[in-house]
Amino acid sequence: MEDYRIRVKIFIGLILVVLSVLGLRLVKLQIVDASAYSGESRSNAIREVRVLPARGVFYDRNDVLLVDNEPTYTVTLTPRYFNRSRVGLLAELLGVPDSVVTRKLEEAWQWSAFKASPSFREVPFDVLSRILEHRAELPGVEYLVAPKRRYLTEARAAHAFGYVREITPAELEKRRADGYRAGDLIGQAGLEKHYETELRGRPGIEYKQVNVHGLVVKPYRDGAEDVPPVNGYDLRLTIDSKLQALAESLFVHKRGAAVALDPRTGGILALVSEPDFDPRLFSKSIPRETWQYLTQSPEKPMFNRATMSGLPPGSTWKPFMALMALQEGVIDEHTIITCRGGYTLGRRVFHDHGGHAHGPINVRQAIQHSCNTFFFTVMMRTDVNTWSRWAKRFGFGRRIPMDLAEQSPGLIPDSSYYDRVYPRGWTAGYTINLGIGQGDMVVTPMQLARYTAAVANGGTLYPPHLVDRLEHPETGEVVRPELPAPEHLPVDPGFFEVVRDGMRLVMEAGTGQYVQIPGISSGGKTGTAQASGGRKDHSLFVLFAPVDDPQIAVAVVVENGGFGATQAAPIASLMVEQYLTGDVGPQRRWLIPYVMKMESEPLPE
């Protein structure tokens, strides 16, 4: 019996040993290695679903909604759960060849086996519902609602607003740390690019529990760990959408640009660059021919002419010359210069338009009649470096600090420029044309508009801007964009009076008299700039109104449009009327189709 009792004890000991071995194994799995296995089970069963925030929308200065978002359906593939034998079924439902589904599946594998890749964009709702009917047969196939930009008014302002499109692999590489993922939209130009961070908001994350077949079974921990998305800021723009739409329509058949500013703030009321493009094109992959036109056509539709094209300003330069000369003491407001229809320098004669002789005239009359001889004389009395310094003070020859990054500085030469470009020497004959806005100088339409606004407001260069403020749609938080301080021109206010007077005379009895705005006093200046390649001149016009209390300043450029008064002037005039009165009066309605019929001289293929 002694032996029997020992056997009972040994047996109990065996039971305890066996269960202790299992217990120790549990210590190893559940205590020592718990975190590793937690990670494993998490990557198994918890799927991160990103919740995209609503991209900020655009309002114009009158609270008109210009750009918002609409939902589109994107079908996603999660390769790990997708059953390859169902490629045919999915392809049939989507109405694409099997090879497309296979290719999308490969792409999805490249990115992640366990995460849903957005594979088919803008799937129509009826197709989506048919896919959902087959949901049980299509594990790893899900959908998400992707927002798409919707453009609500006729004001397209393609270059100002820019566009959004799917992030490219190269950009993704750089911006993954900012939370971008394949298939995300990203602003590519204009405001969409400049305010990308603010517009985009912050994506949220929802954790979903999926089963072994990859089907979502419920929110993980009832959403306790979810991160809600933060919507982007809405942009409150300075744009006047009606003005913008009118200006764009006036530019049909033309190449060129128009910029309208509020001279009291620098707010951009309209920004036109034509030809333009439809920003909607970029929401899907672009057909080859369209892409070729957009990128390779000599018309350069993607090029923002308003801030990037450089043209000689032509006679729109004369108000600047007058201000410089008055301030420098080269002339005073009563100085009389006699115009004999041209200025003789050595053996060369620099002519007035059509050799027209204006006789003895003062600075007001010289602006009114756009007399070249007067300003040739002024230029001859001015050192080129003095001229250059003043031009730069007026904002030419340098980039404008503003919320459009796509800019060119233009060209304002000085003596060192001439030394470099003409190493065999140069004379006054090389620089005299600068006095009438020709020669080795170019300015952008934006610079012209800003200068016109400064003339109108008595010498303050405001920073042009498209965004008045950013408003958060939920919190109502308002953020003002940081703008550089306005620059004040060191010019006597009285001299501005003189020049504005001259520009008023242009509209009342000068080169702009045919585009005078009924009932509104305005100040303008025509410009005709020689085009390269022997083509038709560029047509320019600057305009501000009303003269007593300027509320709008416009610069219009029509490439190869001829004399300034014929094409640019009516566009500028109609824009100002539209803005100040909210409409175009009945007696000038005929002018709109008339202007629309005018064309830029076509470019050779």
């Binding site: 047996f11 066996v18 194994r25 559940q30 205590i31 198994n44 072994v212 993980y220």
Partner: protein, 419 residues
């Protein structure tokens, strides 16, 4: 007058109920979670069915308690014969489930007859080894006992249910142990199993074990033939396993055997290692406190195959954590020890053999099942007693427990001629 049930051991009965309740809770979680709609229809009603089986089992305990001691002694061989017939019948007319032909259908009710065979075998061996015999016949009886176990084991091997057959092989040394076989013989008999396990997991350890075991036996026994046998058993096993793994078996078979040591390896994790990867992830991610009832992501996502049957332990490990898993192991420890103590109190060899045979079967199941779920052993498809879903197993395991409980309650009724 003292009531007939005055000797009933309520502690053991309570522990049985607790284990069954834990099992039902875990099964409920696998079939009634938020994701239950995605489960196979055949699985969705597992909880309800197991409730019915638990009720039948409880009723069975009551019936068993009402039956007298001599009934069990007299019925031992007929029951054994009946279960052997059922095994043959299953082999002939059974239905194949998961590759094993071990199911016999009586109308809509399926019976896994290999489970029932355990009851018959334990009773028959107990009857054999408790019959009067002289000391000189010990060896002959031991051989008979082994034959009684080997017959169902062989039939079950023919059914292709290796896991269950393994339980029978494991049962042999335990029954022989209680029949009084010398300890060193038992140690010698079981040494090849340990040697084989080590040879699969880490061969240097197997070689070291073989050398140390042989030297130990030599030092303890000082008998040349024992030393020779020890060396032959352990060394031979190590050599045989190594040879089998490198030369004899096909690569896919080797992969299947070896995969449990490293199921996470890229070549295993989606096929032969999938069960173990998922089960270990479930248990390991449960951590100390578990994810909570019906909150296990692995369980609710049905990642572990067979989670309501063979892998029920992964559900407990994930949802109730280390604490919960240890509670289950502790319940098992208390239950098994209680049964051993009850058997010892019976003082009649039939009772001792029934109780310890049942405990042996439970212990082998628990070790293999939990060892498999935690990745300590390869995937061997046998259920966790009282917890896994499965009517036949619950009924058979409860039957053995009920008989032991009855024999203990009625221990005064044993014929004094019994021993």
């Amino acid at each position: 007058m003292r009531t007939w049930y005055r000797n009933l051991d309520y502690v053991a009965l309570f522990l049985w109920m607790a284990l069954v309740a834990v099992g039902l809770t875990a099964i409920y979680s696998t079939t009634h979670g938020p994701a239950s709609e995605f489960l196979l229809e055949s699985v969705q009603k597992n909880f309800e069915r197991q409730m019915v089986w638990a009720g039948i089992s409880l009723f069975g305990i009551v019936v068993a308690l009402l039956l007298p001691v001599p009934f069990y002694q007299k019925a031992a061989y007929p029951i054994y014969a009946l279960t052997m017939l059922l095994l043959v019948a299953a082999l002939v007319a059974g239905r194949e489930v998961n590759g094993a032909k071990s199911w016999l259908y009586l109308g809509p009710i399926g019976l896994q007859v290999s489970e029932l065979a355990k009851v018959g075998t334990v009773l028959a061996v107990a009857q054999l080894l408790s019959s009067r015999r002289t000391q000189t016949h010990n060896v002959r009886y031991a051989v008979f006992a082994v034959a009684l176990v080997a017959l169902p084991a062989a039939l079950i091997v023919l059914q292709n249910d290796m896991g269950t057959a393994l339980v029978f092989f494991g049962l042999m040394p335990i029954l022989l142990y209680w029949s009084g076989l010398p300890l060193h013989t038992l140690v010698l008999m079981t040494s090849p199993a340990l040697a084989a396990y080590l040879a699969i997991v880490y061969w240097p350890a197997a070689v070291a074990f073989a050398v140390l075991f042989t030297l130990g036996m030599h030092w303890q026994m000082r008998e040349r033939y024992v030393t020779a046998l020890a060396g032959l058993f352990t060394g031979g096993t190590v050599a045989a396993v190594t040879l089998a793994l490198t030369k004899v078996l096909q690569p896919y078979q080797v992969a299947r055997i070896l995969s449990f040591t490293n199921p996470e390896a890229k070549e295993f994790r989606d096929n032969v290692g999938f069960h173990l990867v998922q089960s270990k992830a479930a248990i390991g991610s449960g951590g100390l406190l578990g994810k909570g009832f019906m909150e296990g992501t692995q369980t609710q996502g049905a990642y572990v195959p067979e989670q309501s049957t063979d892998f029920i332990f992964s559900v407990i490990g994930e949802e109730w954590g280390f604490i919960g898993a240890m509670v289950v192991l502790t319940l098992f420890a208390l239950f098994l020890i209680r049964l051993v103590v009850l058997g010892a109190q019976i003082k009649h060899p039939f009772g001792v053999m029934v109780a310890s045979g049942a405990v042996g079967i439970y212990l082998i199941h628990i070790f293999i099942n939990v060892g498999m779920a935690t990745g300590l052993l390869p995937v061997i498809g046998i259920p966790l007693p009282f917890l896994s879903y499965g009517g036949s197993a619950l009924l058979a395991n409860t039957a053995m427990f009920a008989i032991a409980l009855t024999l203990h309650m009625r221990r005064d009724d044993f014929s004094i001629y019994g021993y």
